[in-house]
Symmetry: C2
Subunit: 114 residues, 2 copies
């Protein structure tokens, strides 16, 4: 499966997701609320749907797209490992302790090249 990040790398897709964050929308709605052409919107929605970021329901000729949060949660989860860098003050201690135990002896002879 495509990584969540590679899907989100595309600015138009992020814009679409931001719009869908507030409520579901049709392709036409999205066309009006972005500067994108209709085929472009449809193609991005296809990518987002295949990747599990959105789902659609049929309303006559329209397709109503809405957000599916799981893939975005993945990103949130990946970020967890870095959050102590900005979350709380106490965590500065954690980082300090880790520096005490780095993988770099920082002096003396070195490893060898293959």
């Amino acid at each position: 499966m495509e990584s969540a990040f590679s899907i989100l790398a595309e600015p138009s897709r992020r814009a679409i997701l931001s719009l869908l964050a507030s409520s579901e929308r049709s392709v036409g709605d999205l066309e009006l609320e972005t500067h994108l052409s209709q085929p472009s919107i449809s193609k991005h929605l296809r990518v987002l749907r295949d990747a599990g970021f959105v789902e659609a329901t049929v309303d006559a000729q329209r397709r109503l797209y809405r957000l599916k949060p799981q893939r975005l949660q993945e990103v949130d989860a990946w970020l967890a490992q870095f959050r102590r860098y900005w979350s709380a003050r106490v965590d500065a201690l954690e980082r300090h302790l880790e520096r005490m135990d780095e993988p770099n002896p920082r002096k003396k002879k070195t490893r060898k090249r293959k």
Copy 2:
């Protein structure tokens, strides 16, 4: 500036950042801890540095790379708009209320094509 997401789209770069999350490392350290070639590591570090995700200090021939959290915080901030989808139960109410006020009248005549 390149979007944080496009930088993170590359799996090797995410791996490098994950390693740096625990402590700073030299290029050689990273080479040993990943399956990447040295030029590949250097090139990814270059991208990460230019994008502000890491910084380096000189230690003789070595360069010691460490994390700079700001760009990752950007991602965290962008995610904020979606967090109510998975954070608390109360937020389900929010979403429900928004659905009451969608941009789709969902019946009757339509807009015109240019």
